[in-house]
């Protein structure tokens, strides 16, 4: 059910960790909002962070569709991300050695097609085999793609990277000139700390809009697909593929669908990234991106779309938020301090929110079927009343 249809029920439906997350998120947003109004946080920078969070959310949606749904171990997140970024950059950038100058929509299409083909190429031989195959083949794929981008200069411009990438909305009516057309605004909420909203802000707003559109779209698709018989088969595969096969499910095909879907979403993240930063280089294919995507999915709770979204936000908070902690003067060498902080935060989150922040709670049953069925949610056997405190296993 969606919030719009039935807000009350939607709230009543929340589990405890969800309440917790919702509460913390709302408080955090309020805090940021106040910070922005008082000039403590620049709206433009905030929008950049939103863009990053959206990008990580997309990556983590994609990985979640593979690992969280189906249990596919994909270590080439960075490669699909890079394919997305390079796909669109090669089509649109002025510095592109092969094409360039096309509308970003063409870039988007090309990026998705290439990611699709690549996903098939690696999926076809490996998805029939044991799970480790995909793990290792994708580890290899990531390296192969990175090395090709780095070394095949005729195709990718090599280590110099691609410059002159236009914003995503270039050539669109209204939107393409929107940032320049908007007047500069001066907001003074707290006297003495005015907030300026000028071209970069409007530019950043457009980026924010774009990522919200991408991530929102991906989320809606995934949400419908997940809480459905389709998503249920994927979860069965994740847990016991043989059982799914015995029940007549073509598990190879399902795994392929999930793998391709996830890869496309990762490529989408890459497309957004290219138009956000307006520059892509081989360094963007570094495995560290894969690493963070995994952290995001798992911190959020494998298998949950909301969790993946949240994980994306958490990653940005950890990575960029720690920059602010760094501002506090400490008597030790500040350089590795942020690294230390990131480490500590990761460990702390695992310690205190062990199931991932938002583990999958919902049953993968078509929502209307359950809600309409009117079955009691709580087991009614007398033995199983809840009892506080208790035994451990």
């Amino acid at each position: 059910m969606s919030l719009l249809d039935d807000p009350k029920a939607a709230f009543a439906d929340l589990t405890r960790p969800e309440w917790w997350v919702l509460g913390v998120s709302v408080a955090f947003l309020l805090f940021l909002f106040v910070a922005m109004l008082t000039g403590g946080l620049s709206p433009t920078y905030f929008l950049f962070l939103v863009g990053l969070a959206g990008m990580y959310a997309l990556l983590s949606f994609g990985l979640n569709a593979q690992w969280g749904f189906t249990g596919l171990i994909n270590f080439s997140v960075a490669a699909f991300f890079g394919i997305g970024a390079y796909g669109t950059a090669l089509m649109t950038a002025s510095g592109s050695p092969i094409a360039g100058g096309f509308n970003p929509l063409v870039g988007l299409a090309v990026a998705l097609v290439v990611a699709f083909v690549l996903a098939l190429l690696i999926g076809i031989p490996t998805l029939r085999l044991r799970a480790d195959y995909l793990a290792i083949a994708s580890l290899g794929l990531a390296e192969v793609v990175r090395l090709i981008v780095l070394n095949e200069r005729w195709l990718t411009n090599g280590s110099a990277g691609l410059r002159g990438i236009p914003g995503f909305f270039v050539g669109w009516p209204v939107l393409s000139t929107f940032p320049e057309a908007m007047p500069g605004l001066r907001l003074e909420v707290v006297p003495g700390s005015p907030v300026f909203l000028e071209t970069p802000f409007w530019q950043a707003s457009l980026n924010g809009l774009l990522v919200v559109a991408f991530a929102g779209g991906a989320y809606l698709v995934l949400r419908r697909a997940h809480r459905s018989p389709w998503g249920r088969v994927l979860r069965t595969i994740r847990s016991d593929e043989d059982l799914a096969r015995a029940l007549g499910k073509n598990t190879y095909s399902f795994k392929m669908q999930s793998f391709v879907l996830g890869s496309l979403i990762m490529a989408l993240a890459g497309v957004f990234y290219a138009h956000l930063n307006l520059y892509v280089g081989p360094g963007d294919l570094d495995p560290i991106t894969t690493f963070y995507a995994w952290v995001a999915v798992i911190l959020g709770g494998s298998g949950s779309n909301r969790g993946a979204l949240f994980g994306g936000v958490v990653i940005v908070t950890i990575r960029e938020g720690t920059r602010f902690l760094n501002d506090v003067a400490l008597p030790i060498d500040p350089a590795p301090l942020r690294l230390l902080l990131i480490g500590v935060v990761i460990v702390a989150v695992m310690r205190y929110r062990p199931q991932g922040v938002l583990p999958p709670q919902r049953e993968l049953i078509w929502p209307s079927a359950v809600d309409g069925g009117g079955t009691p949610e709580t087991p009614d056997s007398g033995v199983r009343e809840r009892k506080g405190g208790g035994g451990d296993e």
Binding site: G184, N277, L278, Y279, G281
Partner: protein
């Protein structure tokens, strides 16, 4: 709520509160805040570490005297030696902290990425401390303290030709820096390049590379790479018993290379480095101060970072307001050829304090005369170093 027209606010790149506050120069006693993107972690963190020594030394120089009675404060953010990290760091500095002047970054690729995605289109000044990649030349808005690798490449090609080698084997680090210097070298070199292969950073062994260089038959080997990678290669060359005449570009020299390679292993190697005028007195005093502070000799990288800070400080002092637009105007002029040549912040700041304009000073850095050209590159001197008794000896000076 009010509407401002675009140019009206002096147009800092950022909208952060602090950028606005600093706008009116003299009255405030708050420190001037500028930003720096450095490689504090990641593959170039060793360079970042060197830079920070230079920065801290420069800061203490500047703040001993002050700028218009105010301190200079540098917010350093980590690029993780990666594009994504660098961009995020610059975004925070420019859009959140609202700095009008950004020192950054180390690797050429990161510097360009920052310029392209954060700086271009704003009037924030970007001054890279270490990037020597050739491509930076194409972006006049992106200044750098370290001279372009092109002059190095030319110098290397002359050097190798003059030494009588008509065959050379090259290996370069596979990034923008290595690639662009190598391309320039290959263009300039008349002899035959019999081996020319990139290597990845951070590998545990380069024995395949050096064994291939050895099989290539060339007697002159050129290394365009970083210190850690080079030290690994030297050790492998040594323990494999290969012999050749080594040449190298800027980033292969350093005390840490000498310390971590066996005596005699790089004897006779010639390296072209963008040079601080080591003979000069100002460099000597910098080196002394550095040595007493950190117990070691400075590298040219530390000198660049040092000069970045001094140059920024002078630009701020010379500008009539603390804004990107104003600094764009002064940053080149305080170290540009016009004006009185001075070799320390103290002297330069004195001239400005005595009512001199930006064109009345010509700051001569510890890393060279600076003098940014129309592409934002410094003139830069080059020095040819030769390894003698496992120490670097300057054997020649070349003007860029």
């Amino acid at each position: 709520l009010s509407t401002t027209d675009d140019g009206g606010e002096g147009g800092e790149g950022g909208e952060g509160g602090e950028g606005g506050e600093g706008g009116d120069g003299g009255d405030s006693t708050e420190a001037y805040e500028i930003g720096m993107v450095d490689s504090q972690t990641g593959s170039l963190s060793a360079f970042g570490e060197r830079n920070q020594r230079g920065v801290n030394l420069a800061l203490s120089r500047v703040n001993e005297i002050g700028i218009n009675g105010r301190d200079l404060d540098i917010v350093v953010e980590d690029s993780e030696s990666e594009n994504q990290g660098g961009i995020a760091a610059a975004q925070k500095l420019v859009n959140q902290d609202g700095v009008p002047f950004l020192i950054g970054a180390v690797g050429s690729g990161v510097s360009l990425a920052i310029y392209e995605s954060v700086i271009e289109g704003t009037d924030v000044v970007q001054l890279s401390q270490n990037s020597t990649g050739l491509n930076l030349t194409e972006f006049p808005g992106l200044l750098r303290m370290s001279p372009s690798g092109r002059s190095q490449s030319l110098a290397l090609s002359n050097l190798i030709t003059d030494d009588g080698y008509d065959e050379v084997a090259i290996t370069y680090v596979n990034n923008d820096y290595g690639q662009s210097l190598t391309d320039a070298f290959v263009d300039a070199y008349d002899g035959e390049v019999v081996y020319n292969t990139p290597h990845d950073q951070d590998q545990q062994s380069y024995s395949s590379v050096i064994s291939e260089m050895n099989s290539s038959g060339a007697d002159a080997w050129l290394f365009i790479t970083y210190q850690a990678e080079f030290a690994t290669m030297v050790n492998e060359v040594y323990s494999s018993g290969y012999e050749a005449q080594f040449y190298g570009a800027d980033s292969v020299s350093g005390d840490n290379v000498l310390e971590n390679t066996p005596e005699g292993s790089i004897e006779g190697m010639k390296i072209v480095v963008p040079s601080a005028p080591v003979e000069e007195e100002n460099y000597q005093s910098f080196a002394d101060a550095f040595e007493s502070e950190y117990g070691r000799q400075p590298t040219s990288w530390a000198a660049y970072a040092y000069d970045c800070v001094i140059n920024a400080a002078l630009a701020i002092q010379a500008a009539d307001e603390f804004s990107g637009a104003a600094l764009q105007d002064t940053v080149r002029r305080v170290s540009g050829p016009e004006g009185e040549e001075v070799t320390s912040f103290e002297a330069a700041s004195q001239i400005l304090a005595d009512g001199g304009g930006p064109d009345d000073v010509d700051y001569q850095g510890v890393s060279g005369p600076i003098n940014f050209d129309e592409n934002g590159d410094p003139v830069g001197f080059l020095q040819v170093l030769e390894v003698q008794d496992h120490a670097y000896e300057g054997i020649d000076f070349i003007e860029g």
